[in-house]
């Protein structure tokens, strides 16, 4: 099966394309085909994973070239894939969570007339994401990278009739493109400096011989790409808008898989980052800033999906931070990525279930948490699974999040006290906003709108929730005995442990304490005073809340610095093109016309004038002849 790993990409790809061109007849079974394709991919991935597991440690990497993609002169790119421990984990995550979300979507999208198309896009996404993680060449990775961007664009804008959805989709794509510029430039730099874009060769060479400046440049450019895809500051603005997409999309793409691609990229390019301390520092800074910014936003949003999206930003910030810590953090970054994939997908799907249950008479899901409350009883399964995800994300001891976050904070302290402190603070805030979310949604008194009748979602939606909840709880087993560090060692090298001033368990205790404080604070804040059905107006809330609601003014900054100048520039250029560039052309033509008009004045139309000029002309000729002869 290891030789056929490429099938995990091809199966959903073929299914996706087939579903797209399949006519109306496909509507009846389209969703099933899509789900089966994703499940088949998962099975192939699982079998391959098991086979890989069975191999000796130093042989856990299968690489092959399918065909030569591009070859011209010195430029050579193979359509090559590599199935190694890192990509194997990702394949399982993507196809596993992906399949669950496919199943969930069968129920969630049951009443959408374009469900077949939705599943086609989901399949395409899975294929692109798998291409991304299996690629053995940066350009092939870029292919998947943009492929997931496209799928994300299509899925965010799936409900195209909503202008907000279409705008959000465009925004996501464009901001991703900004990151892609970095990616593309990085690959060009690889070609110029190293003559290849093969991931293995590049990392090996950069780690070995290339100058540090090259490594730094590559690192920073890749980081730019990662920022775009993973919604890290300063390219974070698209993620919250992306919640316009159907909730399964938010769960799969904007929580579990695609947005973590940036982390994958950094970890995959460990050779480059290890050789570029500056770039690593940049990664840490970006991670930290995003961690706190995301948490801040998460605290203020009343839209359940946006609150979760803020949380996603924040958690990816953790991963970035870990990835930026170098060998000390790579494995934990991936570990947190996996556990986050479980519990965040779980919670997003739970949120979708809530929205589904809270749908008003018009069928539109309600996302405002201020209209929720007391859903514990109305939607028990959702509450239970969501609660497990909640415990996982805040890092309740024993749950998966506890292990993964703990490890990262520990590594951060190992790097620097201040970084650790910031990460610790983030954990506290995470506990605060997640508790707030839980309280507002499930436990506080009901604040439902009229005509809303909350009900539990159908089985097809709750089963994936249960599975994901179980994974959220149990995900922590991966770290037992340092398994994940060991497993990833062939890819990211041996894990480095910094000696801390205090024993590791002290850190764990402190983290748990901080989390407890956050939970308590939120509990006190949101249970003591009743929650209003409408949010307090902006002037009535603190500056911090206002900033959080406005997503830390990221859109305003983009607007002021980029969008508006570009718009003005465009207008000016359109004007100049018509007046100056084309004006010169037309002006030249006009001057020629004027000259002709002037030269035309002797043309009176009177035949006698013409005759006169003929006579004068012949007189001149005769005189000239005379002059010539006589001279």
């Amino acid at each position: 099966m290891l030789d056929l790993v490429w099938l995990v990409v091809v199966v959903p790809l073929v299914s996706g394309l087939g579903l797209l061109v399949w006519g109306k007849e496909g509507d009846r079974v389209g969703h099933l085909v899509g789900t089966v394709a994703s499940a088949a991919s998962f099975v192939i991935g699982l079998v391959a994973f098991v086979q890989l597991l069975g191999r000796p440690e130093d042989d856990r990497s299968v690489a092959d070239t399918l065909f030569t993609w591009i070859s011209a002169g010195p430029f050579h790119v193979d359509m090559a894939y590599r199935f190694d421990p890192l990509s194997a984990l990702f394949v399982l995550l993507i196809t596993g969570v992906g399949t669950l979300i496919h199943v969930y979507s069968i129920g969630y999208m049951a009443h959408d007339e374009r469900r077949r198309r939705f599943f086609a896009y989901l399949n395409l996404f899975v294929a692109a994401m798998l291409t991304l993680v299996l690629a053995d060449d940066y350009l092939v990775l870029f292919l998947g990278w943009e492929g997931v961007g496209l799928a994300s664009y299509l899925l965010i804008g799936f409900w195209q009739h909503k202008p907000s959805a279409a705008a959000a989709a465009k925004k996501a794509f464009v901001l991703n493109r900004v990151g892609d510029v970095g990616m593309a430039l990085a690959i060009m730099l690889m070609f110029a400096q190293l003559g290849t874009s093969s991931i293995q060769a590049v990392n090996a060479t950069v780690a070995g011989q290339a100058s540090e400046s090259v490594a730094t440049a590559l690192g920073l450019l890749l980081l730019l790409g990662a920022c775009g895809k993973s919604a890290q500051v300063p390219l974070q603005a698209w993620l919250l808008d992306a919640m316009e997409g159907p909730t399964p999309v938010s769960a799969l793409i904007h929580a579990a898989t695609m947005v973590t691609a940036g982390v994958y990229l950094v970890v995959r390019s460990n050779g480059i980052f290890d050789a570029a301390p500056v770039a690593q520092t940049a990664v840490v800074v970006v991670g930290l800033v995003t961690l706190l910014a995301g948490a801040w936003i998460g605290c203020t949003k009343d839209d359940i999906k946006k609150a979760l999206a803020g949380s996603t930003m924040s958690q990816i910030g953790y991963m970035m931070l870990a990835a930026g810590l170098g060998p000390a953090g790579y494995a934990f970054a991936i570990f947190h990525l996996v556990t986050h994939g479980f519990f965040k997908a779980n919670m997003f799907l739970g949120a979708g279930s809530v929205m589904h249950g809270m749908a008003g008479p018009d069928g539109e899901g309600d996302v405002d948490m201020r209209h929720y409350g007391a859903l514990r009883r109305a939607m028990p399964v959702t509450f239970a699974t969501f609660g497990l995800g909640y415990l996982a994300i805040i890092g309740f001891p024993g749950f998966s999040g506890f292990f993964s976050k703990d490890k990262i904070i520990e590594a951060a302290f190992g790097e620097s006290f201040w970084i650790g402190l910031a990460a610790l603070l983030g954990a506290g805030v995470t506990a605060f906003y997640m508790t707030r979310l839980m309280v507002m949604t499930f436990t506080s008194p009901r604040r439902w709108l009229d005509d809303v009748h909350p009900h539990e979602s159908p089985r097809v939606m709750t089963v994936p929730l249960v599975v994901l909840a179980a994974l959220s709880v149990l995900g922590g087993v991966l770290v037992l005995g340092g398994w994940i560090e060991h497993w990833l060692q062939p890819v990211v090298g041996p894990s480095v442990h910094h000696e801390l001033a205090v024993p590791a368990w002290v850190v764990s205790v402190v983290v748990t304490a901080v989390v407890a404080v956050g939970v308590a604070l939120a509990w006190v804040t949101y249970t003591r005073t009743p929650i209003a059905q409408t949010a307090p107006a902006d002037p009535d809330v603190s500056v911090l809340t206002r900033a959080g609601r406005n997503e830390l003014y990221g859109n305003a900054v983009n607007d002021t610095l980029v969008v508006r100048p570009t718009r003005h520039l465009t207008r000016v250029l359109v004007f100049l093109d018509a007046r100056l560039v084309d004006g010169l052309v037309r002006g030249l033509a006009d001057r020629l016309g004027d000259t002709s008009q002037f030269l035309r004045t002797p043309q009176t139309g009177y035949v006698r004038s013409y005759a006169l000029s003929i006579l004068v002309g012949s007189l001149v000729v005769v005189l000239a002849l005379l002059a010539v002869t006589l001279a």
Partner: protein, 97 residues
């Protein structure tokens, strides 16, 4: 010899000036005829000067061509007159645009 040629030149000039100053298309045409005749005179004169008849032949051809020209020209004048009720060449000035 020179006097014949001089006469020819004078007639030619008179014809040319006539074309320029007269406005009646028919008169203009006559002036053109005058110019042609002036050249004919010159041709006949040169024929005698050189002692060959080629000049006279040329004059003969000029006459034929002039006849053809007159036929067509007068037809044009008549058709212009029938549409515009005028024979003034100045009234037919649409050529400018």
């Amino acid at each position: 010899m020179n006097e014949y040629l001089t006469l020819s030149m004078i007639l030619f000039t008179i014809g040319a000036v006539g074309v320029l100053v007269r406005r009646n298309a028919i008169v203009v045409f006559m002036c053109v005829e005058l110019m042609l005749n002036a050249t004919n005179l010159a041709l006949v004169t040169f024929s005698r000067q050189h002692g060959t008849l080629d000049g006279q032949i040329a004059a003969f051809f000029v006459m034929v061509v002039a006849a053809a020209e007159v036929v067509v020209g007068l037809a044009i004048i008549v058709s212009i007159y029938s549409t515009r009720r005028t024979t003034s060449v100045d009234d037919a000035s649409l050529l400018k645009l």
